[in-house]
C-alpha cells in the first residue's frame, strides 16, 4: 500500500511539473503584455522595458521557468533584487507587493473554512435526501427530492448567492460592511459562522442536488444486486439493508466524486468567494485574472488547485481500499 502511494505521489509530482510548464506557456503565448498594463498614462517603450525587467519578463520563457523552479526549491529575489521570498517560493506578486506563497498561505484558511463547511452541509443534505428518495422510490419523498434536484442543479451559483446575500442583508442577518472579514473560528465562533453560513448554503445547495441524484442512482443500482436479495432472504429489515448492505457499496461512486469535488473546492470557489467577499484563493485568482493580470499569482493558484485535486484523487483511491476489501489486499 505504501509503495503504491509512493508511486502515485511521484506521478502526481510529474503532473504538477507539466501543469506548471503548460501554465507558463499559456501566459507566454497570450497577446497581453503584463508590463504594459501597469505602465500608466505616459507610457513609453522604455517604461514598458523597465516594467518587464521588474516583473522578470525580460528573459526567455525557459529562463523564467528555471527561475520559478529555483525559487520553489531555494527561494529567490524579486523586483530587481529588492524583495526576497524564501523557499518554497511561488514567485512575487508586484501588484500586491507580496510573496505569492505568503499571500496564498494567508488566503488558504478562508478557502478551507468555506470548503469544509459547504462540504459537510452538502454531503449531509445530499446523501440523506438521496437515501430517502431511493428508499421511497416513486413515492412522494422521491418526487420531492427530484424537485429539489431540478431546482438545485438549474439554479446558478451566482444567482443563488446574490439572492441569499441581498435577502440576508435586508433581513439584517448579516452586516454587509463586515461580511467577508476573516475572523478565526476559535477567536469568534459566532462571527465566523455568520461570515460563512450563507456562502456554505450557496455552495451546498447546488452540490447537494447533485449528490442527491448520485446517491439515489447509486443506491437504486445496488439494490438490484444479488447480495441485497440474499440479505432480504436472511430476513434483514429494509432500513438495515439500505444502511448496511446497500450504502457501503453505493458509497464508492459518491466518495470518488466527493473527493474530487472537495479537492477542487480547496483550489478556491471563485463565484461564491466573490459574491460573499470572502478573501480566499478564488477571489485572489479572479482579481489576478481580471484586474491585475498577475502572472505569479495565477501560476500559484493554478498549481495549488491542481495539487489539491491530485492529492484528493489519491486520497479517494486509498479510501476505496478501506471500503472494499478486494482492493485492500490486491
Amino acid at each position: 500500500m505504501l509503495k503504491y502511494i509512493g508511486k502515485r505521489a511521484m506521478a502526481n509530482g510529474l503532473i504538477l511539473v507539466a501543469i506548471s510548464m503548460i501554465t507558463y506557456l499559456i501566459f507566454w503565448a497570450l497577446p497581453v503584455n503584463p508590463a504594459s498594463i501597469s505602465c500608466g498614462t505616459h507610457c513609453t517603450p522604455q517604461k514598458i522595458a523597465a516594467n518587464e525587467h521588474l516583473l522578470g519578463l525580460d528573459v526567455p520563457i525557459w529562463v523564467q521557468y528555471g527561475r520559478f523552479v529555483k525559487g520553489l526549491v531555494v527561494g529567490a529575489n524579486y523586483a530587481d533584487g529588492q524583495v526576497h521570498c524564501s523557499a518554497p517560493s511561488l514567485g512575487y506578486s508586484v501588484p500586491t507587493n507580496t510573496c505569492v506563497t505568503t499571500l496564498l498561505a494567508q488566503k488558504f484558511p478562508v478557502t478551507l473554512s468555506l470548503a469544509i463547511g459547504a462540504f459537510i452541509l452538502w454531503m449531509l443534505i445530499g446523501m440523506s435526501m438521496g437515501i430517502v428518495a431511493a428508499r421511497y422510490r416513486g413515492r412522494w419523498p422521491d418526487k420531492a427530492a427530484n424537485a429539489f434536484v431540478l431546482t438545485g442543479t438549474s439554479l446558478p451559483t451566482f444567482l443563488l448567492g446574490l439572492l441569499l446575500l441581498i435577502g440576508a442583508t435586508l433581513a439584517h442577518w448579516i452586516d454587509p460592511i463586515t461580511q467577508g472579514l476573516w475572523v478565526a473560528p476559535w477567536s469568534d465562533p459566532i462571527g465566523f459562522f455568520k461570515n460563512f453560513i450563507f456562502a456554505w448554503i450557496t455552495l451546498a445547495i447546488t452540490s447537494a442536488a447533485i449528490y442527491t441524484r448520485l446517491t439515489r442512482g447509486s443506491v437504486i443500482e445496488t439494490s438490484s444486486e444479488d447480495f441485497i436479495r440474499t440479505a432480504r432472504a436472511k430476513g434483514v429489515s429494509e432500513w438495515r439493508i439500505l444502511l448496511k448492505h446497500n450504502l457501503r457499496t453505493s458509497l464508492a461512486p459518491i466518495i470518488s466524486q466527493a473527493g474530487l469535488d472537495f479537492g477542487g473546492l480547496l483550489g478556491g470557489a471563485v463565484i461564491t468567494e466573490k459574491v460573499f467577499n470572502l478573501q480566499g484563493l478564488g477571489n485572489v485568482a479572479i482579481t489576478a485574472v481580471l484586474q491585475t493580470y498577475d502572472l505569479p499569482i495565477l501560476v500559484g493558484t493554478t498549481l495549488i488547485a491542481a495539487a489539491f485535486y491530485l492529492v484528493f484523487n489519491l486520497i479517494v483511491d486509498v479510501a476505496y481500499s478501506f471500503l472494499d476489501p478486494r482492493v485492500r489486499i490486491s
Binding site: 436479495r229 432472504a233 434483514v236 457501503r248 457499496t249
Partner: protein, 344 residues
C-alpha cells in the same frame, strides 16, 4: 397432519409499460418435510418467480399475486400472500431459507463471511444485535456451520472475505448461511449451475446430507434434469408460467407424458444408456410472457400438434389430467406415455 408447503392457484404477474407479464398462472403444488421437490423448466418458465413468492420477496408495489401459499411449521403457520411484511420477515431466513445460483454475487463483497453469517443468526436469535454475548455466540455458531458444510479450518476462514474463497467453497458458505437457523424449508435456486461439474456433485451431496440433518423440505429449482435425477423425490415441469407435468422421478424419466418434458429429456446426455446418442434441441423459442400464444402455450413448438384430433391445441387450453396416481400433465394427446430417448 398438514403439509409443510401447500401452494394453491398461485398467479404472479408484473404490470409493465409494455403490458402485463404473466410469470406464473394458477400454480398448485405441495411439499412435505424430508421431501425434495424439483421444479424444472427453461429460463422464464416461472420457476424462480414462484420460489420468490414463497419467500414473500416480491415488491408489493410492482407485483400482482393471487392464490395461496400455506406454510406450516408446527406452531407458526402462515399464508404468505396475505401476510404482513413483518410476519414474513420473521420466518425468512429462519423457517424458510434460500440459496442462489451465483455464490460470488450473492455474498456481500465488503463483509467477512463471519459477519454475514452471524447477522443472519443474530436477527432471528440474538435479540439485541449489538450485545457482546450474543455476538460471541453467533460467531461460535458460524464456525460450527462452516465446519458442518465442510469448510476446512473454519475457525480461521470465518474472518475471510468472499473473494478469498473458491466457487465451490463459496456455495458451501451460502449453504451455511441458509442453514444457520435450521430452517424447515430450503429453496435452492440453481445451486450448482455456476459451478464446475466436479464440484456440482459435492454440493448436491452436501445438500442431501443437510436435508437429513435438518429434516427439511427442499425445493430444487433447476433447468438441468441431470441434477434432478440424483436428489429429487418428485419433479414439477414448468413451461411459460404453468405446471405442464408433475410426478415422481421415475414418472418423469421413464413414463414421460408431456411433449415438452420429452423435449427436455432429449436435450440432455443420458449417462445410463451407454450408447452415443444425438442430442436434440427443442425447436423455436419460449413464448413472451406478455403475449402468450392462444391455446396450449407449447403448441407453436410442439411436434405432436397434428396428432391431436380431438382438440385444436392452438385454440383450446388443456386442463390437468391425472395420468396415474401422483402423475399428471396438461396435454390433449391420446397417448399417455411418450417414447423416451427419441424425439421423432
Amino acid at each position: 397432519m398438514s403439509r409443510l408447503l401447500e401452494v394453491k392457484d398461485l398467479s404472479v404477474s408484473f404490470p409493465t409499460d409494455a403490458g402485463v407479464v404473466r410469470a406464473t398462472q394458477n400454480l398448485s403444488f405441495h411439499l412435505d418435510r424430508g421431501e425434495t421437490l424439483a421444479i424444472v423448466g427453461e429460463s422464464g418458465s416461472g420457476k424462480s418467480v414462484s420460489s420468490m413468492a414463497i419467500m414473500g420477496l416480491h415488491n408489493p408495489g410492482r407485483t400482482e399475486i393471487s392464490g395461496e401459499i400455506n406454510l406450516n411449521f408446527g406452531e407458526n403457520n402462515l399464508e404468505v400472500v396475505s401476510a404482513p411484511e413483518e410476519k414474513i420477515r420473521a420466518i425468512r431466513g429462519k423457517n424458510v431459507a434460500m440459496i442462489f445460483q451465483d455464490p460470488m454475487s450473492s455474498l456481500h463483497p465488503y463483509y467477512s463471511i463471519g459477519n454475514q453469517l452471524t447477522e443472519s443468526w443474530l436477527i432471528h436469535n440474538g435479540g439485541n444485535l449489538d450485545s457482546k454475548t450474543a455476538k460471541a455466540k453467533a460467531w461460535e455458531r458460524a464456525v460450527e456451520m462452516l465446519d458442518l458444510v465442510g469448510i476446512p479450518d473454519a475457525g480461521r476462514r470465518v474472518k475471510e472475505f468472499p473473494h478469498q474463497f473458491s466457487g465451490g467453497m463459496r456455495q458451501r458458505v451460502m449453504i451455511a448461511l441458509a442453514l444457520i437457523n435450521g430452517p424447515d424449508l430450503l429453496i435452492a435456486d440453481e445451486p450448482t449451475t455456476a459451478l464446475d461439474v466436479t464440484v456440482q456433485a459435492q454440493i448436491l451431496g452436501l445438500l442431501k446430507d443437510m436435508q437429513k440433518e435438518f429434516n427439511m423440505g427442499v425445493i430444487l429449482i433447476t433447468h438441468d434434469l441431470g441434477v434432478v435425477a440424483e436428489v429429487s423425490d418428485r419433479i414439477n415441469v414448468m413451461y411459460a408460467g404453468k405446471l405442464v407435468e408433475e410426478g415422481t422421478v421415475d414418472d418423469i424419466f421413464y413414463r414421460t407424458s408431456h411433449p415438452y418434458t420429452q423435449g427436455l429429456l432429449n436435450s440432455i446426455p443420458r449417462v445410463d444408456s451407454g450408447v452415443a446418442e444425438k442430442l436434440v434441441a427443442i425447436p423455436g423459442q419460449p413464448p413472451s410472457l406478455i403475449a402468450l400464444p392462444k391455446g396450449c402455450a407449447f403448441s407453436p413448438r410442439c411436434e405432436y400438434v397434428r396428432q391431436v384430433s380431438s382438440h385444436d391445441c392452438k385454440v383450446e387450453i388443456p386442463d390437468s389430467i391425472e395420468v396415474a396416481s401422483g402423475h399428471s400433465r396438461k396435454c390433449f394427446l391420446k397417448e399417455t406415455y411418450l417414447p423416451a430417448g427419441k424425439g421423432r
